[in-house]
Symmetry: C2
Subunit: 337 residues, 2 copies
DNA sequence: CTGAAAGCGCTTACAG
DNA sequence: CTGAAAGCGCTTACAG
């Protein structure tokens, strides 16, 4: 009840029961029905009972110091205010919890300087492993981390040969192209996202390649890089719509697509009727917009779960391989005439 | 270079220099130019040099175990995939970092059972303090935490008399009412959010009170509770638009407003022209929508910063008081005829 | 100015 | 079956 109640320790339990701390530790740590019994059934029961009654919780600092294991994993993301990463993180947290690990997440703003600093901070906390959601395609920084020895996996974005759990973004881009080709769109533009993100690169590449296979070469000026947020999509669209307008735009993520839709409207274009728009990710918003957005569903939460599970395997000394989860095209009003 | 490089310890530095660990500790901990010198200038310099060269980073588990201070703060939010909380959290992280603290955030889904579990987990990690972004108005759970002794503040939502950094939601609701009254709207509806969140309660109350002061009583069936996401807004709007439609809708947050806008469109209503719509929070999306959304700007990131700073003060033994940050009305096309 | 000791709360071989 | 010891890497009075 006192404001400064000291947590109960192993020693306190041991003394209360007239036992040695090592006995108590053995009982409380050993699996409930261990082969090599840690104490007599009677003693064990008394210990467990008192521990439960007192609400004993081991001091994780002491445990970590002793075992050199923190049961903490560090997660680095560009920004949690990006719904995609926030959702991926929810999956990570769920799976980590299932495995008795706590996740420790931090924003790096996709800025190399901040990435370094925050990674260092997380490593200083002695996490057991890392999940990077902010990999840059050049992957220089990750190579350094790899040599430093702390196990890690990438999620959402891939880089180099590091194990990565991603959506099959290239396939996603192809699906969009196929859909637009079926509708007869030949003059199309791409809002291509950040040039350092594999998500953006792969989605655009899949799209462009599929068009090329259909005999249509998308000219360079029809491919415009952009930030991933709504304002970025709007800016890119302004540039695209300045000249002769395309009949369809593929934005490599939903928020950019929404911004682009705003720009299209400013130009007097009706979404679906005058210009087709496609996004990527199928964020919950996409289906609920006044004019619902055609987009590619990517399993964000599932990616997070699998990334955490891969890291768990890595921590257990098992090898892990990259995975590409399957995307699905969601056709909605923004591409129906 | 080896994959299993052991971190440098105080002992390693001490031995390398033929000194005692306590000397090294004193030098590395004391403020650079301490009054009571920790060692001779020469010794101190040699220590600092080697520490820098070896990249010494204190083992936080050892430090925490010894000092009973983790320099960690726990942050509980309903869900990081809610942009509002994600943005608040960015502010918290920034300010915490400025004060040498690390923030540890976790999702509680606004579900009491999960709130308990995750709070327990965070407390088990021996955080120095807590920030709750998921307070429920009844505040029962928080009262328990208060007696347990770990300092905490609330952010975004308030409850009971616990110190809380919030937006002045009541005032925000009033601002919306004034705007709609000026435009001549007398038959209005409220998409009122979750009944346990002070944000929702206060915004709706400010709105209803201001209307009453203007001589307009908003009937109970015009006030519909809802989830805070887009789908929730759509559902609530469906219910509202089923009968004789109001001329304006105030949704207590932007995402619900966007969902409601979708529903309005399904009913053949043009936003702004046929029905006015107002949201709350001024998320970056609001200004970029095809029909930009009138909303109330709330200083989300700033709330987070201040909450972290309040907690820092609390940890320093200073008293803290609740703060209500000022909201600003942002008038856009969704309320212009 | 520097060293030596004690101790934070655990875990883990090792005895008996 | 249980205890005793050592030690993880620190910090902090206390000596000298």
């Amino acid at each position: 009840m006192a404001g400064t109640a000291r947590p109960v320790t192993l020693r306190f339990i041991a003394d209360s029961l007239g036992l040695h701390v090592s006995t108590v530790s053995r009982v409380l740590n050993g699996a409930a029905h261990d082969g090599a019994r840690a104490a007599s059934g009677d003693t064990a029961e008394r210990i467990r009972e008192l521990a439960a009654e007192l609400g004993y919780r081991p001091n994780p600092h002491a445990t970590s110091l002793r075992t050199e294991r923190s049961n903490l994993i560090g997660v680095l993301v560009p920004r949690l205010s990006d719904l995609v990463l926030a959702t991926v993180y929810e999956g990570i947290e769920e799976a980590a919890t299932d495995h008795g690990l706590s996740a420790f997440v931090t924003n790096t703003r996709d800025d190399p300087e901040t990435q370094r600093k925050r990674t260092k901070m997380v490593l200083d906390r002695r996490v057991d492993g890392l999940i990077f959601g902010d990999a840059h395609a050049d992957g220089r920084f990750l190579d350094e981390i790899a040599t430093a020895g702390t196990p890690f996996v990438l999620v959402n974005r891939r880089a180099g040969d590091h194990p990565a759990i991603t959506c099959d973004d290239y396939l996603g881009g192809r699906l969009v192209a196929e859909h637009l080709l079926e509708l007869g769109h030949e003059d199309v533009a791409v809002i291509a996202g950040e040039p350092y993100a594999s998500t953006a690169i792969d989605r655009a590449a899949g799209f462009v390649d599929r068009y090329r296979e259909a005999g249509v070469t998308i000219p360079a000026h029809r491919i415009v890089h952009s930030r991933f947020d709504t304002a970025g999509g709007r800016q890119a669209a302004e540039q695209i719509l300045r000249d002769r307008r395309p009949s369809a735009i593929f934005a490599v993520n939903d928020f950019a697509a929404i911004g682009a839709a705003g720009s299209a409207r400013d130009h007097g274009l009706r979404l679906g009727a005058d210009i087709a728009m496609v996004g990527f990710n199928d964020t919950p918003l996409a289906a609920e917009l006044p004019i619902p957005l055609t987009t590619v569903h990517s399993p964000m939460r599932e990616m997070g779960r699998r990334a955490a599970e891969s890291l768990v395997r890595l921590l257990g000394g098992e090898p892990v391989e990259s995975e590409r989860l399957r995307p699905t095209l969601m056709v909605r009003a923004s591409t129906s005439p």
